[in-house]
Subunit: 120 residues, 2 copies
Amino acid sequence: MRANEVSKRTALPISTLRFYERKQLIPVTFISRDENNYRVYDEEVVQYLQDMKMLLSLGFTIEELIFLVNESSPEEKLARVKDKIAYIQELEAKLEASKTFLNDLLAGKANFQTRCRIEH
Amino acid sequence: MRANEVSKRTALPISTLRFYERKQLIPVTFISRDENNYRVYDEEVVQYLQDMKMLLSLGFTIEELIFLVNESSPEEKLARVKDKIAYIQELEAKLEASKTFLNDLLAGKANFQTRCRIEH
DNA sequence: ATGAACTATGAACCTTGGTTCATAGCAAGC
DNA sequence: GCTTGCTATGAACCAAGGTTCATAGTTCAT
């Protein structure tokens, strides 16, 4: 499979595929080269990239993912994932607080709008 | 009040205060100058900055906040805040999905770990 | 067999939200 | 009055996560 197909199947720009490869987020075993030096991607890379995309969208950084993928110990992987779940729960609490804050703004409970109006 | 005090009361570095000012996130009416050209901050700027800090931490960008603060129409402000609440709700749904994904990882339902192991 | 589309490369560029630096003028305590 | 510390400025720098560019070789459809 060449870059174009991987790009279409993962909805990641080719430039991003190359960027991830440069960052070593894509294990070398997923990519070989043909006689023209064109990249040949393994079938499995599609699912792998979809997972990475998901994990990135959760707030994992590329560095974290590289560590997660390359981490030799399954226990370490589990620990990382558990950490992330805890982090997500914190985020959820924060978002709840945020909604309250914004709803207070809407209800006029905060003096934010008053202070904004001062400016005009 | 000078920069040092604002910095201490908002827990924002002075460099950040100047950065926000440069970006026009701080309305000019909150800052004047003394005879030495030192900034003199209005008392109200403390609460204002605390609000901005909160809003930034929710995912508002500086550009959004500038617009929100300077928006002349109260209706527009309300619309913006409502949009943000909707956005936060989307985020919450996404985080829920993320937790499910990660819990599946932990439970070994995904084949992510298997594929990770392939690399070693 | 020719032009459009695909692939390769390294380097430069981009955005967001800031921080650091070099240089210089005030300030405040002892 | 001297030293330490606060303030000022513009410009450069930073990290993250990519994207764009210039240049060059390859492939595919007609």
